[in-house]
Subunit: 412 residues, 2 copies
């Protein structure tokens, strides 16, 4: 007979333990092109003024505004044309009283000029320009720094970079963007019966599921599944792998966690450090282990998910995904682009597990939440589910038609 | 003087034109590891049974169930032990009446056996096994194909691949996953004043914003910005680039779309094919162009966004992001993980533009939607905004305290 679960903990206690995990945030620099969805590791301040020069905002003529004060439709002011410049050009001539320069939207305002007359209010006549409407100082131009002043705080540390924020980073010509490094995670499936999906299957073997679902869930949480491996279910192999991956930000295993005789993770963790959790009072997901050991003065954590793929996915999502997102500095979405729950009627009477908080997968059909009543190991139940409902540990029965809150499957 | 806008269209007509764009979906095969968030281009049917063999679901002893019918705590049945197998092992011996094989969770049920007695109800004595509780046929084992039968429809074409769906793909050992190819988009900024953010800035030049914001928005819509370039604002260069990128799924330019003299996109499109839209009755975003030309028998579309980065971003999001997502076969999110709007009070009186539908950027502060009242070209306004509100074209004034619907910035 194997070891019994040492000390089954309730879900809130486990969440408390996880919330106390120590982590160290590292930074890295990426290019703007690679910065989408990353998280700023430093405040971004403007390194230039924007616009970086006095900029024309309308096609027309740059003038000394005083020259135009008397201009009217019937009695235009006549100015000499100095030169023609467009966006990207550098003006060569000083605009003095009695003269103007033809300018395009985006071009610099030539020195001496202090306003722009829109082309609609002008006329070309015998090589001179007739101005039919007066302008005041500063009209149809933007001052240097009117949008952004050098030194302005543009984006705060911790901001997730969206296409709109990339606009600001591009505007000041940032060469590299300081972002949090994505946490590096090792994902290990244990089990002698497991083979990779790209191997050929033989009798007695099954394709491993957990290394793939958990790795992709790690990716969805903004972390990198640096290693994704299958390890034999024995003490030496598992211990060696955990030691090999001790520099990772987190090690997530699955399988080898129940109380049966072949289950070795608890022993490995006992010997390397300590077991913090051995069993959670939830269904599915009871055989979950959390351990800690020390490496170079730092606490390192090992998560042992159940071998059952449905349980592994649910426990990851419920307990560990929030921690991974926090490690990755990704804000939990809420408000405008968040996760919605919906209130629906359960479509049939359901008897939950006793004494454990129960997470029941459901499909949504109109106003109904339909419980998925497959065998606990059925991987198809996860693929079919639209979400899950929570049933308290003391609930004996959920009657048909009861309103339930459906949470989406996802990694927020 | 430049050309006037030819035919300003209202927003709904423009959406109608875009919804009629012809597109061709292409497929590609990716590995499971690269399939997260991609969209299935074919139905996935099971190629194997799951479990692929009769599988033990509890640690214990595989028996001929009939042998155990009389077993009780006080009067156990004694069976000879044939061999010990665990998960991943291949049983060598046939289980006959009077004998049993020790099995672990996940191992095959040996031939001849038809049930498993849990180890908790057994005892080892003098090399034999005492069975203290009877089992019925099929107990503590799963039949071959009980979760998935070869040929079962597992996932439908058009499904977005989540970590949970990856579980199913892994379970059947799929070598490659047929997904829709990501649409390939060229993103071009036009303007002689524009330089890339990784170049050195000189007088009269500004860092280009639109190529970066639009490229990252293209990525956020599930497409690939294959080319991201700055092109001089002249007929020949722009025409040559559009011809060069004629095999792309879409060409998106910005700048060169207003009615001024330097604006060339309309002329290029007129000559290559036809202009479908020249001006939309919205603010910001009026100078938007849509054109079509033919390439190898296929309709190709060119989008000309305004040069103003705020307008370019808003118009992309409002009119084109849904089309890009549709091209990428990404379902518009709704229900459990969708986009939320919120109803808030506008914090001050606002006078919208006349005769155009007005999209006003706002910040959210508690229950207030605070209008961002910067210059229309201020890139910081986009970075500060939490969302936008829509104001109908005939609204003359929005009084302080009016309830408004705030839409998030995003790419749904």
């Amino acid at each position: 007979m194997g070891n019994e679960f040492l000390d089954i903990k309730n879900p809130d206690d486990v969440k408390g333990i996880i919330s106390n995990f120590q982590t160290i945030k590292k930074n890295e620099d990426v290019t703007i092109e690679n910065s989408l969805s990353r998280v700023l590791a430093e405040d971004i301040r403007a390194t230039i003024n924007l616009p970086p020069f006095r900029k024309v905002t309308m096609d027309g003529y740059a003038v000394v505004s005083e020259d135009t004060f008397t201009a009217s439709e019937d009695d235009p002011v006549k100015l000499g044309l100095l030169e023609v410049i467009g966006a990207g050009d550098v003006p060569k001539k000083l605009v003095k009283s009695g003269f103007c320069t033809e300018v395009g939207t985006g071009s610099p305002v030539p020195e001496g000029a202090d306003a722009v007359v829109m082309v609609e209010y002008t006329e070309v006549k015998d090589g001179s320009i007739l101005i039919h409407e007066g302008v005041t100082m500063g009209q149809n131009m933007a001052k240097e720094g009117s949008d952004i002043m050098e030194g302005d705080l543009l984006l705060k540390k911790g901001t997730t970079i969206t296409p709109e924020k990339i606009g600001v980073l591009s505007a000041i010509g940032l060469k590299t963007v300081p972002v949090y490094k994505k946490p590096q995670i090792a994902v290990i499936s244990t089990g002698n019966e497991l083979i990779r999906h790209d191997e050929e299957i033989t009798y007695g073997k099954i394709f491993d599921i957990n290394s793939q679902t958990i790795s992709s869930a790690v990716t969805a949480c903004g972390c990198i599944p640096v290693k994704t491996e299958i390890v034999k279910d024995n003490y030496d192999d598992l211990k060696q792998k955990i030691i090999e991956y001790r520099d990772m930000d987190l090690i997530i295993t699955s399988g080898g966690t129940s109380a049966g005789r072949g289950d070795v993770l608890r022993q490995v963790l006992d010997d390397l450090g300590e077991v913090l959790v051995h069993g959670i009072a939830v269904k599915p997901g009871k055989p979950t282990i959390i351990g800690r050991f020390e490496n170079e003065g730092l606490d390192k954590y090992v998560v042992g998910l159940p071998g059952n793929p449905v349980a592994a996915s649910m426990v990851f999502q419920l307990f560990f995904a929030p921690f991974l997102r926090e490690m990755a500095s990704i804000e939990t979405k809420s408000g405008l682009t968040g996760t919605n729950t919906v209130e629906l009627e359960i479509s049939k009477r359901y008897r939950p597990a006793k004494g454990r908080k129960h997470y029941l997968l459901v499909k949504i059909d109109g106003n109904d939440a339909i419980p998925i009543l497959k065998d606990s190991g059925a991987i198809t139940s996860l693929a079919e589910a639209d979400g899950y409902i929570e049933i308290g540990k003391n609930v004996e029965i959920v009657e048909k038609g009861t309103m339930v809150t459906v949470y989406p499957l996802g990694y927020w």
